[in-house]
């Protein structure tokens, strides 16, 4: 779909990023990078939770896999020798470019998703949610105990800070594109059918398990990518970096934007990254009678999400997409229309 409109918007994005890089200081650039990473996370969660209707709570696990894998791969050989002396030699000698490491992280996450998905995707609803939470607990247990590779509870620090707004938004664009293509294909329509009524979909010949697995693995892949990007932004990861809090925050972004809407995920992620950031800076300055109010921003977010559930379950966009103005090809579109309805 590389038509003139897409190129125009990509150019606009590139220009904005260039402006941001020149004009904004490091702190704000970091926030932007986080926005992009959250967009990737929300879009990927939307695939399972929003489009197929499988409520997964295991996203943090896939992030962790992506982060740790890419960390072990990009860490300079010298650092690996000191930090992780028990690493198997072939890994210890390896130092890999960022792009490769990120992709490998994503692939490994997707692979784990596939293996885990075989038993877990037989469940639905509440049981699936808890099983995926269990996955997170298991991954964390592995991260804490497989000290040769993960350094246990100490975690890995000194990750080279490769992630900048170009990498982050670059991957966000890729994620958005892939998911957009997927959702608008026969696969995507099948997924929506499964969400509406899995039994009816199966009766129509849709391979329900295969589609759920596809969504689960693709979602895990991009969560792994996001994890890798995140690790190389904050430079230090521990088993507790990828806690349930992260999953919950991504769920919030997803729900605020509206499940089943790609632009909704983008809006939700942006909003729920910037607003808490704002709240946090206010929180540090606020105090009630001299008593600091840490955690207030999280409470406000949680109350917001509860209110959304009670009053506007479908989120800001209600599952619909924002239509960006098409500045080119308007005549072309009309021509297509006329062909589509010759009697008009």
């Amino acid at each position: 779909m590389l038509n003139k409109n897409t190129l125009l918007y990509l150019a606009v994005l590139a220009a904005l990023l260039f402006a941001a890089q020149t004009l904004l200081n490091d702190y704000y650039q970091r926030i932007l990078a986080v926005v992009a990473i959250n967009i990737i996370l929300t879009l990927s969660l939307n695939l399972t939770n929003g489009f197929v209707g499988d409520f997964s709570l295991g996203h943090a696990a896939f992030m962790a896999i992506g982060a740790y894998t890419s960390a072990v791969l990009t860490l300079p050989v010298a650092s690996k020798a000191t930090l992780m002396p028990d690493l198997p030699p072939w890994l210890g000698q390896l130092a890999v470019p960022f792009l490769v490491a990120t992709i490998v992280g994503g692939v490994l996450a997707a692979f784990v998703a596939m293996i885990v998905g075989i038993p877990v995707l037989r469940l639905r609803g509440h049981y699936l949610a808890v099983a995926t939470l269990g996955l997170m607990v298991i991954v964390r247990a592995v991260a804490i105990n497989w000290t040769a590779v993960t350094r246990g509870a100490k975690g890995i620090n000194g990750l080279p800070v490769f992630t900048d707004i170009w990498w982050a938004f670059g991957w966000a664009v890729v994620t958005g594109y892939v998911i957009w293509r997927l959702v608008n294909s026969t696969y995507g329509r099948a997924m929506c059918a499964i969400r509406e009524d899995a039994t009816a979909a199966a009766a129509r010949g849709i391979n329900v398990t295969a589609h759920r697995m596809l969504a689960f693995c693709v979602g895990a892949f991009f969560a792994g990518i996001a994890g890798a990007l995140w690790g190389h932004l904050i430079s230090a990861i521990t088993p507790h970096s990828f806690s349930f809090l992260i999953t919950f925050n991504v769920v919030v972004m997803l729900v605020v934007g509206g499940m089943g809407s790609i632009s909704g995920s983008i809006v939700g992620a942006t909003l729920m990254t910037l607003v808490p950031e704002l709240l946090r800076s206010v929180e540090t300055r606020l105090s009630l009678g001299g008593h600091p109010l840490y955690g207030l921003s999280q409470i406000i977010i949680a109350i917001t999400i509860a209110l959304v559930m009670i009053f506007r379950r479908q989120g800001l966009l209600g599952g619909r997409e924002i239509r960006l103005p098409q500045l080119f090809d308007r005549r072309g579109a009309d021509a297509v229309d006329r062909q589509a309805s010759p009697s008009a």
């Binding site: 037989r122 840490y294 559930m309 009670i310």
Partner: protein, 299 residues
């Protein structure tokens, strides 16, 4: 290889941990049976119970029994409040909405504690004579453990009497079976649901005391893991079934203790992974659990 005292010790530990899981699982299963809601905030009530108990121990001269009884009442009230404010507006809403709301409530309770107290762990120190180990034959246990387990079993016995002999208790079981028929009987389901939350939450408070006593310290996010594991216990026993929750709780407690106690030490860090591996196994092999209910609707 493993001496008798060692095995006996593991059994005592299993009883202790099993009692905790059983108490928490009961609350989860009662609510799930009636509302089909997994209350993710339930584990956090365990935490609230622990904090209240600590506050009473540190700040009052009340006997230890009060540090168990008062949190039961307060946390029971919190449970009723949470239901009224967060879950009742969502009756009849899709599963996902209730799930997300319970996550939100959990976050509010956790961060509320962080905000009003602090995220720092606090020591849960009990009088020395209570936690001193005593030897009775091959078995060694502390007074605290003995009392806790007895109280837990006693409460479970009381609950069983409640749900088999009293009007409201039987109504609770009836609601879990068939909510509409229960309404047609003249049962005020709002009242029954309030009871369900009150009882489950009160039991969770007791579990909080026991958990804190066992691990020696409390922090605002401590409820996450017991809550999740209690859910595993409830599923193993058969979600929606009170006897199932009790059975599942003890089975899981023993399984976890034996996993750590009888396998080589390299494995002990994987105890949580083991618990969830068990969950997956049960969900795949016997999803309705060991003591399935006869409820009309599917879980």
């Amino acid at each position: 290889m493993y001496s008798l005292p060692y095995i006996a010790q593991q059994i005592v530990n299993g009883l202790n941990l099993g009692s905790i899981y059983a108490l928490v699982a009961i609350g989860l299963t009662i609510v799930y049976g009636i509302l089909r809601l997994i209350n993710f905030a339930h584990g956090d009530l365990v935490m609230v119970g622990a904090y209240l108990a600590l506050a009473l121990i540190l700040n009052t001269a009340l006997p230890l029994g009060a540090a168990v009884l008062v949190p039961m009442i307060v946390v029971g009230g919190v449970g009723i409040l949470v239901e009224r404010l967060a879950y009742r507006p969502l009756r009849g809403a899709p599963e996902v909405a209730m799930l997300i709301t319970s996550l939100a409530v959990s976050s509010i309770i956790q961060n509320g504690t962080v905000m009003s107290l602090s995220a720092q762990p606090r020591a849960f120190r009990l009088p020395a004579d209570l936690i001193a180990q005593q030897q009775v034959g091959v078995v060694s246990f502390s007074t605290l453990e003995a009392i806790s387990v007895s109280v837990a079993i006693g409460l479970m016995a009381l609950l069983t009497v409640f749900v088999t002999r009293t009007r409201v208790g039987v109504a609770m079981r009836a609601c879990a079976e068939n909510l509409r028929a229960a309404r047609l009987m003249g049962i005020d389901i709002n009242q029954v649901i309030a009871y369900a939350f009150a009882i489950g939450s009160a039991l969770a408070a007791v579990a909080g005391f026991m958990w804190a006593g066992r691990f020696g310290s409390i922090e605002p996010f401590m409820g996450f893991l017991p809550g999740l594991k209690a859910f595993v216990a409830a599923v193993i026993g058969g979600i929606g079934s009170i006897p199932g929750a009790m059975l599942g709780g003890y089975l899981l407690g023993f399984a976890e203790i034996f996993f750590v106690g009888f396998l080589p030490p390299e494995f002990s860090g994987y105890r949580d992974a083991f618990v969830f591996g068990l969950l997956l196994l049960v969900l795949l092999v016997r999803p309705r659990g060991l003591l399935p209910t006869t409820a009309e609707r599917e879980g």
